[in-house]
């Protein structure tokens, strides 16, 4: 083994508190070290040249750079190795700046620590092997689960980009909840038009297959090559998809589960969804009295729905606005906790609705009682602290969104996780809202939490572009730092398989050992730490590397 050690002064940053000369001198005589130099800026052009020359002249097969923290200049130094035809993964960076020269002032102690840190790099690098960024073939096709507005927008985008699209909808008709919305706020468009436009485009494309009344009966395989079996009305259909978008939407909250609302027992008590569907058919007196109740099935811990459904305040405003537009002299009162008119234009809409005469009462409604003359609402006004009873001709319940009825089923089929409310869980709630823990499986729309139409379209397209980015080349790079199984050592206990978050480990029934699907592995190393015989190991962080680093820190020298 021929190791080259390059110790950076970083101007004064390292040299100031670390005796770099002493270090380079020390390692110059160390076994297997053929070059040990210190230099003012190893990262500068001449510094890089020095490394390149040493590799070429001395035939180095390991390069250790002791300088700033590895996250800086990492790629640059790798390039230096590449340019000298040395595998870039034979580079070891040792941080003697952030982790040594900057954290203490004592030159002697720092130099000793730096020596140990470099030694750890040296020991560890001895176990390095050349690694390659592998390439796996991926199918340029997508399975989209759910034919609502999110799924359809994803499908439209992907089909326009030339991908093969399979869209599966369990209902007979595409379009989901949006299809019934007659007047979508704020654009005022008819939901049916939006849906029909998208469906028409999809139907006209050769690279799209739409499956309605269809269920997914099995889902196997890994990122880039998922094997899917569909249960269609015309029989079983097998297909291969490179990636998946789950866009199965939501279930409207069923107010029937709250008996005090008396929903379903009196036709004068309806939901916002009922109102959207049948507003024209409603039979109301001349100057109707209408009550609108916010937060039905939301912000309600008692029924296990502690979350805010995000869209219902605006839905409630829509109802108030519509009634006021139709019956100028109506009495419309909205009972709310907070008016969350947050979307773009929402606040203005809220103000306009108030100006049109809709009353907003901050209240807790205790009961809704159908009476012969009207529906009685009893509650407490939380601003004035008074209880009230008022009679209305119509009560509209602004219902929230519940997780899709089959979220559990779909989650277990695709081995992805649900959150505590049974919506789908994002890999990161803010920065990776479309990813799941499983590579190549994305989520979009309301299935990960309540969203309005605009947001759902947004989501559909955004998750689609993400999927497209993964698959568009027809191949994908695999990070080299992934787990690897030595089948001779594997006992097949499947502990790693159970623990693996990415679901990248697969058990081979015949051989009774596991193997790793390279493309799916995230490289966390949990499997390695779980395996008692380390038959599965994480490349770049194998046991002997870490064990030797420990030794380097501690053993007598």
């Amino acid at each position: 083994m021929k190791t080259g050690i390059f110790i950076c002064h970083c101007g004064h940053n390292i040299k100031h508190t670390v005796d770099v000369k002493k270090l380079s001198e020390y390692f110059r005589h160390y076994p297997n070290v053929v070059v040990s130099e210190d230099y003012v800026f190893v990262c500068s052009e001449p510094g890089q040249d020095m490394i390149r020359e040493s590799i070429e002249k001395e035939g180095l097969d390991r390069v250790i750079i002791a300088s700033c923290t590895p996250s800086l200049h990492g790629e640059m130094f790798k390039d230096v190795l590449k340019k000298s035809d040395l595998n870039p993964f034979l580079l070891r960076r040792v941080s003697i700046r952030e982790h040594c020269s900057w954290i203490g002032d004592d030159v002697e102690k720092n130099t000793e620590k730096a020596k140990r840190l470099i030694l750890a790099g040296l020991y560890s690098a001895a176990h390095y092997v050349p690694l390659e960024e592998k390439i796996v073939d991926v199918k340029k096709s997508a399975l989209i689960v759910g034919g609502g507005v999110s799924g359809l927008s994803a499908a439209v985008f992907l089909s326009r980009m030339g991908m093969q699209v399979y869209l599966v909808e369990k209902e007979a008709e595409l379009g989901g909840h949006v299809r019934v919305l007659k007047n979508i706020w704020p654009s005022g468009r008819d939901g049916k038009d939006i849906i029909d436009e998208m469906v028409k485009e999809l139907e006209g494309r050769r690279n799209v297959e739409l499956f309605t009344s269809t269920a997914i009966s099995s889902f196997e395989g890994f990122f880039g090559n998922y094997e899917v079996t569909l249960d269609t009305p015309v029989g079983e259909k097998k297909l291969t998809a490179g990636g998946v978008i789950i866009a199965i939407g939501f279930s409207p909250f069923d107010p029937g589960t709250k008996p005090e609302l008396n929903y379903g027992k009196d036709k004068r008590i309806i939901t916002t969804l009922d109102f959207e569907r049948n507003a024209d058919a409603l039979q109301l007196p001349e100057n109707p009295r209408v009550a609108i109740l916010h937060c039905i099935g939301s912000r309600d811990e008692q029924i296990g729905k502690p979350y805010c459904s995000r869209v219902c305040c605006v839905n409630a405003l829509r109802v108030g606005d519509a009634i006021k537009n139709r019956y100028g002299d109506s009495y419309v009162e909205s009972f709310y906790m907070d008016v969350r008119a947050h979307p773009r234009g929402g606040e203005e809409y809220f103000e306009d609705t108030q100006e049109k005469g809709v009353l907003f009462t901050r209240a807790n409604v205790a009961e809704i009682m159908p009476m012969p003359t009207g529906v009685m609402i009893r509650g407490e006004d939380t601003l004035f602290g008074e209880t009230f009873e008022r009679e209305f001709d119509l009560v509209v319940l602004s219902i929230g969104m519940s997780p899709p009825a089959d979220s559990k089923l779909i989650a277990s089929l695709f081995k992805v996780t649900l959150d505590k409310d049974k919506f789908f869980l994002e890999a990161h709630i803010k920065l990776r809202p479309f990813d799941t823990a499983v590579k190549g499986i994305f989520i979009a729309g309301s299935c990960s939490g309540p969203k309005d139409v605009e947001e759902s379209i947004n989501h559909g397209r955004a998750s689609a572009v993400k999927l497209f980015g993964f698959l568009n080349l027809g191949y994908a790079y695999v990070d080299p730092f992934i787990a690897h199984v030595d089948p001779k050592r594997c006992s097949g206990c499947r502990m790693c398989e159970q623990a693996c978050v990415a679901k990248a480990i697969k058990y081979d029934e015949a051989q009774r050992v596991v193997h790793v699907e390279d493309a799916a592995c995230m490289g966390c190393g949990l499997c390695n730490a779980t395996c008692p015989s380390s038959a599965i190991s994480l490349k770049g962080y194998i046991d002997c590397m870490i064990d030797d680093e420990i030794s380097a820190f501690l053993e007598a020298i």
């Binding site: 982790h99 954290i103 966390c524 730490a529 994480l538 870490i546 820190f553 501690l554």
Partner: protein, 136 residues
């Protein structure tokens, strides 16, 4: 002449996950925060990579203390890794407790921004162990 007491400095080995704690340690360095040089870090992609065997090995190689540090629960870059870490390291701590050496092993959650917290945690650990070591 009174014998001069030689102060014994402990050796602490820390396992730090790349995404949170190691980042915090980088920031601690770049903010020129000070902590004892007896604290040395081994970078792992995720705290869940830490095999309890590493900890045991470090102790038998002569470390006075070992810590495992990762992202706060729920913030793992690998989504769930640190929940497994928590189970394993908690169990190992229980085992260390049975051997009356509980204070040698610690588990920290330090996010990438918590440079200060990182320094406080490691310095606190170092000082406590140092005190014990020098007490006899």
């Amino acid at each position: 002449m009174a014998e001069e007491k030689i102060e014994k400095n402990p050796e602490i080995v820390g396992f730090a996950c790349s995404y949170c704690t190691f980042k915090a340690s980088e920031m601690a360095g770049s903010l020129r925060m000070k902590y004892p040089e007896g604290v040395k870090l081994i970078q792992v992609p995720c705290s869940s990579r830490v095999d309890p065997a590493f900890v045991i090995k470090a102790i038998f190689e002569g470390a006075d203390g070992v810590f495992v540090a990762g992202c706060h629960p729920g913030d793992c870059h690998f989504i769930k890794g640190n929940y497994y870490t928590r189970r394993k390291i908690a169990a190992l701590k229980e085992m260390f407790d049975a051997f009356s050496m509980k204070d040698k092993l610690r588990l920290f959650w330090v996010s990438a921004a918590e440079a200060r917290r990182f320094v406080e945690k490691v310095t606190g650990m170092y000082n406590e162990i140092k005190e014990k070591k020098n007490a006899g």
